[in-house]
């Protein structure tokens, strides 16, 4: 049926948008052991930086990764100046810092770009229809890009020395130290990558919608639901969970009003935390 196929593609699009930022939350949680609420603001920042770079007539496919790298550096700068000094003080101080950072970044974007609704200079295009699945070229490119970055992240975590250091620190930090892993390098790297991934997610979200200073905040709850559902610390888990939540929230439209999508995400989040805090999907990396 036509309608179901639309829902399916919507779920895929939502999943593609959520996957990378949720993976960033997951990575930070896995390695640094705190939920970072500022990830959504790195999405916003990344999206606006990409727009800024588009202003120099860079095409979006070039501006987006560049903006993501810049966002990674911004994230790293805050980590090294503020978060680093509370590294050994448990989960609460970095959580509070991330809240402060959320407020700061959201309003920095507002200060620099205003409250107006903006969008990327990409022309609208008519969709492809393949076997009843309707998808626009932009969405297709977005989904493929996210998949490529996801695969690169997973391969990077598996195949590179840094990736192994990240996984080692995530699964057993004490042992990682006695095998010669330098934790600060892992922390800094993870923060940079998380900033990068969040920014790509932000650009993806902004291509699908528009740019506003609340761009990232609006997906905070779904992102945490995805990250927790996927078992905090797991990138593949986040990808599966994003798809699952995407399908659940799209198909929930058959029974629930659309306005409850976010509330549904919260219920999923709370239920998983209360019943099985390790997450439902544990891909184990």
């Amino acid at each position: 049926m036509f309608e179901l196929q639309i829902y399916f593609v919507s779920a895929l699009v939502s999943a593609a948008i959520w996957t990378l930022p949720a993976a960033a939350i997951s990575l930070i949680y896995g390695v640094l052991r705190y939920p970072n609420f500022a990830i959504t603001e790195f999405m916003t920042l990344g999206a606006y930086l990409a727009l800024f770079l588009c202003g120099f007539s860079f095409p979006l496919w070039f501006a987006a990764p560049l903006a993501a790298v810049l966002t990674g550096f911004v994230a790293l700068a805050f980590d090294q100046t503020l978060f680093r000094s509370v590294r050994r003080a448990g989960a609460l101080p970095p959580v509070l810092l991330s809240l402060g950072l959320m407020l700061f970044l959201q309003n920095a974007v507002r200060f620099l770009w205003g409250n107006d609704v903006l969008q990327y200079p990409i022309p609208l295009s008519r969709p492809f229809v393949i076997a009843g699945f309707v998808i626009t070229p932009t969405q297709a490119i977005m989904i493929v890009s996210v998949l490529v970055i996801l695969l690169l992240s997973i391969v990077g975590l598996r195949m590179t020395a840094f990736g192994r250091a990240v996984r080692a620190t995530s699964t057993n930090p004490e042992l990682a130290v006695v095998t010669g892993v330098r934790p600060e390098i892992v922390y800094g790297g993870v923060i940079f990558i998380s900033g990068f991934l969040a920014a790509i997610g932000g650009v993806a979200l902004a291509t699908e919608t528009t740019l506003t200073p609340l761009l990232g905040w609006r997906v905070l709850i779904p992102l945490f639901a995805v990250a927790i559902l996927g078992g905090l610390g797991s990138v593949i888990g986040a990808a599966y969970a994003a798809l699952l939540l995407g399908l659940v929230s799209e198909f929930s439209l058959l029974v629930l009003p659309a306005t409850y999508k976010t509330a549904l995400a919260f219920l999923v989040l709370a239920a998983v935390l209360l019943v099985r805090p390790t997450g439902l999907i544990r891909a184990g990396d």
Partner: protein, 417 residues
């Protein structure tokens, strides 16, 4: 960043100058409260312009402020009501009720305003009105929500914007006139939608139409694909979207990207040049129903000239703000008072329908000083208020986006409750 540079320079310079002027005034008032208070009685009459200079109504707020200033210049050039100049103090309500309430308090308490003009979003008007009423001031508003009538207690609140019910009926009248029978509705979850849509449905059914689906949505959704699919599912003759610019833009894009084509009718206040640019081909053919202005009236032509726009600009909210300040000034002149309760009656009197037709403050005071009664016919229309401070009947204009331009395609006149 991506704002139209032309737009930016005009509005930017206006607001900057305004800020400087307003700033100097407030500085003086703050530094010398005693003198400020004296002035409020005998010197300038302070009027608050509470407008959405940012947020969803940002572009309209800028237009309204510039229009109010155009009226201000005319009024003060004519010597002002009762020979006193009017000082306009602007405050940004950020299109947010909370910011608006704070802004209103500041206007009332710090600036000691006589009246507040401008509030645009209905939620803002709903929030601000009780405070204004409690202080026995009068307020002019550009909001359509019918619920505003409910909180009207002492008639201190005047709306130059047609009520949502009229808006809803206007859509129905137009659609029925075109011979369309099946309508799907997408409604943003905000104050005006429920009323407009209900009024629309009622009138549309009366005229033999049928609403096939009504789907509400939130502004913060990431995609609108599912909602659009739902609306198109029943093959309607047209789809009415009741919302604001950001979500309507997103919905139009979603429909386009789903490969769907259809007729969309949307409120005019949601369509700015930004929408047309942002939605690009998806906005092509879009029908918009907007509160009409008296395009041929001298008042509107003066305003259009003052704002410097070409013929393709359509200043519907600007016209209202312009009329609001003129009505206020005339009322003060007529009442020889700045007391809110006295002014309430005076506003009703100077707005007509009885009395000599005037289209500007200057004309008005001439009549008034000769002891006559005036009927102000402004830039936005003939403006006659009912007991609830609502305009009695409204004119609407229907326009269509063609090749990226808004082209008038029809009029709906004298829509009544």
């Amino acid at each position: 960043m991506k704002r139209d540079p032309e737009n930016r320079s005009i509005l930017g310079s206006i607001s900057r100058r305004a800020l400087l002027a307003g700033g100097a005034g407030a500085l003086a008032a703050a530094a010398m409260p005693g003198i400020g208070a004296v002035r409020a009685d005998e010197g300038e009459i302070v009027v608050g312009a509470l407008m959405p200079l940012s947020g969803a109504g940002g572009s309209f707020g800028q237009e309204m402020l510039a229009s109010a200033k155009a009226a201000l210049a005319e009024i003060n050039d004519a010597g002002g009501p009762n020979g006193r100049k009017i000082k306009l103090v602007e405050e940004n309500d950020e299109t947010s009720p909370e910011a608006a309430v704070r802004g209103a308090r500041k206007l009332i308490e710090v600036d000691k305003v006589t009246a507040i003009i401008g509030t645009w979003a209905s939620s803002v008007t709903l929030a601000v009105a009780p405070i204004v009423q409690a202080n026995k001031l009068i307020q002019f508003s550009t909001s359509g929500a019918s619920r505003i009538t409910e909180i009207q207690k002492k008639g201190h609140l005047f709306r130059t914007e047609p009520d949502d019910l009229l808006f809803g009926k206007a859509y129905a009248e137009y659609a029925a006139g075109q011979g369309w029978k099946r309508a799907a509705v997408l409604g943003l979850n905000v104050p005006f939608t429920a009323m407009t849509v209900e009024a629309f449905r009622q009138r549309f059914v009366e005229r033999g139409g049928k609403v096939t689906s009504f789907t509400t949505y939130n502004e913060d959704q990431t995609t609108f694909r599912s909602e659009v699919t739902r609306a198109f599912a029943d093959k309607p003759d047209f789809i009415h979207i009741s919302g604001y610019e950001p979500d309507i833009t997103a919905i139009l894009k979603a429909a386009y990207q789903l490969g769907l084509s259809g007729r969309f009718i949307v409120p005019g206040f949601a369509v700015s040049p930004d929408l047309i640019k942002n939605a690009g081909p998806a906005a092509e053919g879009l029908l918009l129903v907007e509160e009409g202005v008296a395009e041929d009236s001298p008042a509107y032509q003066r305003l259009a000239k003052a704002l410097g726009g070409g013929s393709d600009h359509y200043y519907s909210f600007g016209a209202q703000a312009y009329d609001q300040l003129n009505l206020l000034a005339l009322a003060i002149e007529a009442a020889k008072s700045v007391d809110g309760t006295v002014l309430t009656d005076a506003v009703k009197k100077v707005s007509g329908p009885e009395g000599t037709k005037v289209t500007s403050f200057a004309e008005g005071i001439k009549v008034l000083r000769q002891g006559g009664q005036v009927n102000y016919e402004g830039a936005s229309g003939s403006i006659d208020f009912d007991a609830n401070g609502n305009i009695v009947k409204a004119n609407f204009r229907v326009a269509q986006v063609k090749d990226g331009k808004v082209v008038p395609v029809g009029k709906i006149t004298d829509v009544v409750f």
